[in-house]
Amino acid sequence: MEPLIGMGVLALMGAAATVAGASEDLESDVGSQSNPNSQVQLAPQMMYPHRIYNKAISGEPPSNALMCAIGGTTASVLMTAYSMSPLFAIAMGALFAAIVHGSYSISAFLGRPASQKRFKQPVYLDVLRSHTPVIMGYSYITTFCILVVSYLMIAVLGHPFPLPLLAFIWGITVGAIGSSTGDVHYGAEREFQNVEFGAGLNAANSGNIVRTAESGLRNGIDNSWFCAKFGGPVTGIAFGMTVFLSGWVTTVFNPAASLTMGWLSVVAGVILVLIMIIWNRKIEVAARAAFGPYKEDEVAA
C-alpha cells in the first residue's frame, strides 16, 4: 500500500476517534456514569435528593464495549448476509447499538433510585424522557465513529481481527480513556462547584453535589453543557492520540518492509512515550509553582 494512502487513512481514523472520544465523555456526563456517579448515588443518602440522571450501567469500558460490539456485529451481519454497503451497515449498526444502550440506561435510571426508597429519592419521569434521547444520540455518534475506525483498520490497513472484536476492543479502550480523563472534570469540578476551586473533594463534603442550576434545578444536560467546554474535547484528543499514535508508528516505519523498520517503529513509540513523561513532569512542576502548597511545612515553621 502507498504510504501516503496509509497516512491519509490514519488521519481519518484519528479524526473519527477524536469525535468518538468527545461524544463518549459527554454521553457519560449527561447520564452521569462510572466513578463520578458514586457521588450522585450517595447524595440522597446524605439528604441531598437531586434531579440528575443515574446511569449506573457499569464502568464505561464495558458499556461502550457493548455498544461497539453490538454495532460491529450488526454491521458485519448486514454486510455478509445482506451484502449491504459498509456505510449503510455501519449506520444501521450504530442505530441498533444506540437503542440497546437506551434500554440499559433506562433500566439503571429506574433501578438505582428505586433501591433508595428509604432516602426518599423520587424517580422523575421528565428527566428520563428528556435525557434518554440525548444519551442515545451521543452513543450513536460514539458507536458510528468507532465502527469507522475499526472498519478502516480492517479494510484498508489490513488488520487481521474481525470487525466485532476490533470494535469491542476499541470500545473498552475509549471507555477506559473517557473514565480516566473527561470524567474527572465532571466528578471533581462540575459536581462540586459549590466549594472553592483548586482543591480535591474534601471527604467531609461527600454527597453534597450541586443540585441547583443557573435557573431552576440542575440536571445531566446542564452538566454536559459545562463538560463540553473542556472535559469532552480533551477526552477526544486522548482517544484520537491513542488511535493515531499507535497506528502512526507502524505506518511510518512499516514492519512488513523489514525487521529493521519494525524495530524503528518500536523506537519511535518509545521516544513518544518519553516525550510524554517529560511533558507530564513539566505540567507537574508548573502546577506546583502556580498553585503552591496547601499548608506550611511544620518543621520549618
Binding site: L42, A56, V100
Partner: protein, 270 residues
C-alpha cells in the same frame, strides 16, 4: 461503587438452590433442545439455545447479587468480566474437544476453573468472603452456559466446526462475551442500593437476556435465515414483557414516581 448505603440483604423470595437448578437445567435443556430439534425437525428451533442462555443469565445475575453484597473492594462489573473471561476459555475448550458432550464439558471445566479461582481468592488473596468459592463456580458456570447457548442459536448447533465458522471466526463471539457479561452483571449493578429486591433484579436479568437473544437472532441470519425471525420475535417479546414487569416493580418499590416536580421538601425528608 460501594456508595449505596448499608449492604443489601442477600436473601430473597426465591431460594438460591431453585435458581441454580433453573439455570443449569434450563441452560442445558435449551442448548440440547436447540441442537437436536434444529437437526431433526427444523432450523427454526435454534432459538431454544438463547432461551437456555437466558436461564443461565438469570442464574448468573442472582449469583452476582449474592456475592456482591459482601463488597469486593472493586466494582460489580469486574466480577462479570471475570465470569465471562473464565466462561469463554472453558466453553471454547468444551466445544472444541467435547463433540456431543461439549456443553457439559464446557460447564464442568468452567466450574473447575471457577472453583480454583474462588479458592485462590479466599486462601491466597485473603478476601475471606464465605461464599466466594461457590459463587465463583456459579458465575463461571453461568458464563459458560450463556456463551454456549448464544453460540448455539447463532450457529444452529454447538458442533465446533459450525461454531468456529459462524461465531468465532467472524468475531461474533465478542458480542456474546460482552452482552452475556452485561446480562449477568448489569441487573444487580443497576438495582444496587439498600432497598434492592430480588424479584426486581432478576426481572432485569430476563430483560437483558431478551436483548442478548435479539442479537443472537440477528447473527443467526449469517448461518441461515430460518431461525432469525422467530428468535428476534421471541427475544423482543421477552424483552417487552420483562421490561413492563420491571416498570411495575419499580413503581412498587420506589419512593415516588413523578412526571415532573421539585425536590422533596425539608419536612418531607425528616
Amino acid at each position: 461503587m460501594s456508595a449505596g448505603g448499608e449492604p443489601a440483604v442477600a436473601g430473597g423470595a426465591v431460594a438460591p438452590n431453585k435458581i441454580i437448578a433453573f439455570g443449569i437445567l434450563g441452560g442445558l435443556i435449551g442448548i440440547y433442545a436447540a441442537h437436536f430439534l434444529d437437526s431433526m425437525i427444523s432450523p427454526v428451533f435454534s432459538f431454544m439455545g438463547a432461551l437456555g442462555a437466558i436461564c443461565a443469565i438469570v442464574w448468573g445475575a442472582d449469583a452476582v447479587r449474592r456475592v456482591c453484597s459482601y463488597g469486593l473492594g472493586t466494582g460489580v462489573p469486574s466480577i462479570g468480566m471475570l465470569a465471562l473471561g473464565m466462561g469463554v476459555v472453558a466453553s471454547m475448550f468444551g466445544l472444541a474437544v467435547g463433540g456431543i458432550a461439549g456443553p457439559i464439558i464446557a460447564f464442568v471445566s468452567a466450574a473447575i476453573i471457577g472453583l480454583i479461582i474462588g479458592v485462590l481468592a479466599n486462601k491466597v488473596l485473603g478476601m475471606n468472603i464465605p461464599i466466594m468459592e461457590q459463587s465463583m463456580v456459579e458465575i463461571a458456570g453461568a458464563g459458560a452456559l450463556t456463551i454456549v447457548g448464544l453460540s448455539t442459536t447463532m450457529a444452529g448447533t454447538f458442533m465446533f466446526e459450525e461454531v468456529l465458522t459462524f461465531v468465532i471466526a467472524p468475531g461474533y463471539i465478542a458480542v456474546i462475551f460482552i452482552a452475556g457479561g452485561m446480562g449477568i452483571l448489569h441487573p444487580f449493578n443497576a438495582c444496587l442500593g439498600p432497598d434492592e429486591h430480588q424479584d426486581r433484579t432478576l426481572t432485569l436479568g430476563f430483560e437483558k437476556g431478551g436483548i442478548a437473544m435479539v442479537i443472537a437472532g440477528l447473527v443467526s441470519a449469517v448461518a441461515g435465515s430460518a431461525a432469525m425471525l422467530p428468535t428476534i420475535m421471541i427475544g423482543v417479546f421477552i424483552w417487552y414483557t420483562s421490561f413492563a414487569k420491571f416498570y411495575e416493580l419499580t413503581k412498587r418499590d420506589s419512593y415516588k414516581i413523578l412526571g415532573s416536580g421539585l425536590l422533596p421538601s425539608e419536612e418531607e425528608l425528616q
